[in-house]
């Protein structure tokens, strides 16, 4: 790892060269490097926490001035119980995952003695931009090394001291490993993000780890593919045959389990026929948990009749933009889906249930393509919903909060992608790979094949 004060272009070029070498290192060498980093960070804990205290002191002052949010200060703090240990464990977890490199996904016998093989390989150079949390450096360095990618890391200025301390430890640790110097580039100079985002010659993928604002800024300023989601506007739809208990569990967890997360629900769609039966029970628990319910006319009216008057008094009117807002807070926008037997103007979907089509259309128009869930007893309705809703995660009778790399069993997560290209949903190590095609021949040439000449066999071979 080099702590560079060179230009962004130098860093990127050097990372690009190092990536070539890293790409051919065996997994044992990559894993050994992770063990070494882990051990070094473990023994350097006091030094790193000292540096972190300097960041914390500056940040606390800034927070008292009001120039920094209290939540950012909290994210900076490496002394919070379990945080340092989690960072260390994360490195070992990544080390112990299966090697994502060298996986063969296709083998074809083109002709006798002429074999085609598709093999996973690293992408090349990743640019990772993150805001405050200093432990992200260690996680990302681990992910990059494990997947054979070089990485350029650019951290937020609030974590400068922690960042430098961690970097120095990782850098010294890597010196003793086979991972090439230069595979992890730490860019400390400020205001270089724009310049880095232009270096598509060297950088293959940008991963912004931070708030929505950062992700959006990055997406708007580069032509390099950005792995990240700009929004997490998730919905739960209670269908006409929704089970009351399941509805209650799924909606409450989707909204309340961690409201600031991108996989928390922001919109609750309710079939008109269950406004008076299923919704009141759901609403009561939500209100109990302190959730503001922003209701449309019909749902407010029915809830007003069904709920005790002290609860009913808490209901609010939904505003025009609420169905497009990621609240990240204890708020949920409620929308009634009309119960109808036939409908005009929804030419593009063709389920047997027009109300379901309306719910799907609303989601496709307003959700951010992150994760959406339907509560229904009908397998047919659920399967149609999951096919027609154009989101990375489409669930049946399950909380939107399951959208997460750990929960999916990927061990770790680079981020959650709402792109429709390369990688979608929770992105594990696999999302940091691409593939190449190898052909092993014995002197064959293309001119030998074709009309009146040799024919290709195109025989699928076992992987």
């Amino acid at each position: 790892m080099s702590l560079t004060s060179s230009t962004p272009e130098d860093s990127a070029r050097s990372a690009s060269l190092a990536a070539r070498s890293l790409a051919v290192l065996p997994v044992s060498s990559r894993n050994n490097a992770l063990t070494t980093i882990h051990d070094a960070l473990l023994s350097a804990k006091p030094t790193i926490l000292e540096a972190n205290a300097q960041d914390m002191s500056l940040a606390t002052t800034a927070s008292n001035d009001g120039s920094l949010s209290a939540s950012l200060v909290k994210r900076l703090d490496l002394t919070r119980p379990g945080k340092y240990e989690d960072m260390l464990q994360g490195i070992l977890d990544v080390r112990d995952l299966p090697d994502p490199i060298g996986q063969v996904s296709l083998r074809t016998l083109l002709d006798d003695g002429l074999e085609l093989e598709r093999v996973s390989c690293p992408i090349g150079v990743l640019l990772i931009i993150f805001e405050a949390r200093p432990e992200v450096i260690a996680n990302i360095a681990a992910l990059a090394i494990k997947s054979g990618n070089a990485a350029i890391l650019k951290g937020g200025k609030e974590s400068t001291y922690s960042f430098e301390a961690i970097s120095r430890v990782i850098s010294e640790a890597l010196e003793t490993t086979e991972v090439p110097n230069g595979a992890i580039q730490l860019v400390k100079t400020r205001d270089v993000i724009d310049e880095l985002l232009q270096l598509d010659r060297y950088i293959d993928l940008v991963i912004p780890r931070g708030g929505n604002e950062l992700v959006r800024y990055v997406k708007e300023h580069t032509r390099i593919l950005v792995m990240g989601h700009a929004d997490g506007l998730c919905s739960v739809y209670l269908h006409s045959d929704a089970d009351s208990e399941i509805a209650k569990k799924v909606v409450v967890d989707s909204k309340c389990d961690y409201p600031a997360a991108c996989n928390a629900a922001e919109t609750l769609l309710v079939h008109e026929s269950v406004l008076g039966s299923v919704l009141p029970g759901v609403a009561e628990v939500l209100l109990q948990r302190g959730v503001s319910l922003l209701c449309d006319g019909k749902s407010k009216q029915v809830l007003g009749e069904k709920l005790p008057s002290d609860k009913a008094a808490l209901l609010q009117d939904v505003g025009e933009t609420d169905y497009d807002t990621e609240f990240l807070d204890l708020k949920i926008a409620v929308k009634t889906v009309p119960a109808i037997g036939a409908v005009n103007g929804t030419a593009y979907t063709t389920s047997s249930d027009p109300s379901l089509d309306l719910a799907i259309s609303h989601i496709n128009a307003h959700s951010s393509g992150h994760t959406d869930s339907i509560v229904t007893r009908s397998k047919e309705a659920a399967e149609y919903f999951m096919s027609a809703v154009d989101s990375a995660g489409v669930y049946w009778n399950a909380s939107t909060r399951f959208a997460d790399g750990m929960r999916y069993g990927f061990g770790t997560e680079v981020g959650i992608s709402t792109n429709r290209i390369h990688s979608r949903g929770p992105v594990g190590l696999e999302g940091l790979t691409i593939y190449k095609y190898k052909i092993r021949g014995s002197g064959q040439v293309a001119g030998e094949y074709g009309a009146g000449k040799r024919a290709y066999k195109h025989e699928k071979l076992p992987l």
Copy 2:
């Protein structure tokens, strides 16, 4: 299919809506639409050829003026033997390929009654920009429909009449199918490319089909992922133990089989130790076939001694930029790889053969990441070369000309990608898909899991 004169934004929005519907159509409906298009284009052949004659007449005039290249006029011509039939057959070939949609690539039991599934689905909306060849409309419409994607097609102005005629036929044919109106948008208004390239809200992937200039222009003017290669600078490397006969076959085919193709070789790297043994035989055939050999000092000297003097007289000096030039012509740049036992300054690769590292470094620095081949008897050298060369295709004892979707057995090819994201190398229908995650539960919520609570099972299920 709509022949639209609406704004690019209207087209894109409408394609985006139609994509939702197309995504849930069963494969039988998509296949039926392709049969219908095929039959309609078959019976409308006379009308379409008439329109094509109008384009040809304008183009021929322009060509005589010198304002249009003769090769472009040739590409316009739908009356060339077999061309119309190939276009028709191409539609049926695409129809008969396996459905790329709905393929399950991962199934995990998260917990009892809680299953995760990763299923392939369409990307959404493709923007296809192509230059002259009018038959591309039919091919691309077929690929888009088969893969469940909506497509916005923008053709070159030289093929306006043919394009409109083919479009009208496809449009009328689609009216009788289940593929929604709007799934294929034909943009006829001119100078709208820049505007389309800005519509990343609606368009998910851009596929430029045309010359390098078009591809480069598109890449420079959009933040949408572009599937295509800007260059095809391929190399063949003759290692120290290269077989003479294989070297001759592979180099000659790579260069001469179709010099204007992106998978033709432009650079020939030769290990110093075989300059006098293997290279002369190769050079002789190349010169016989009319190839100009642009040689560095050492290779020119040795060839000068070994070749008959009339042949030697044809050797040229390589220029500084020749190793970075895609000649697309009967020219090849020859470079000697020094025979050395140890080398300084190549810190990033670690084979047991420093000369091999030098060859690999040259390729990684100068090739376009398309396809590169090594000729060697050594399995070890070949495997190392294929791991370390960072290109979409890395071959051992085989012609670079195999880099092609048909030859790989993909049936059809959307293009060849030199991206390191999403899809690399020859891109078949699979490259027009992404995936979504489905979860089928029975009321599970994330809050039930974690330390001291339920644990995930993360059990791999059969596909």
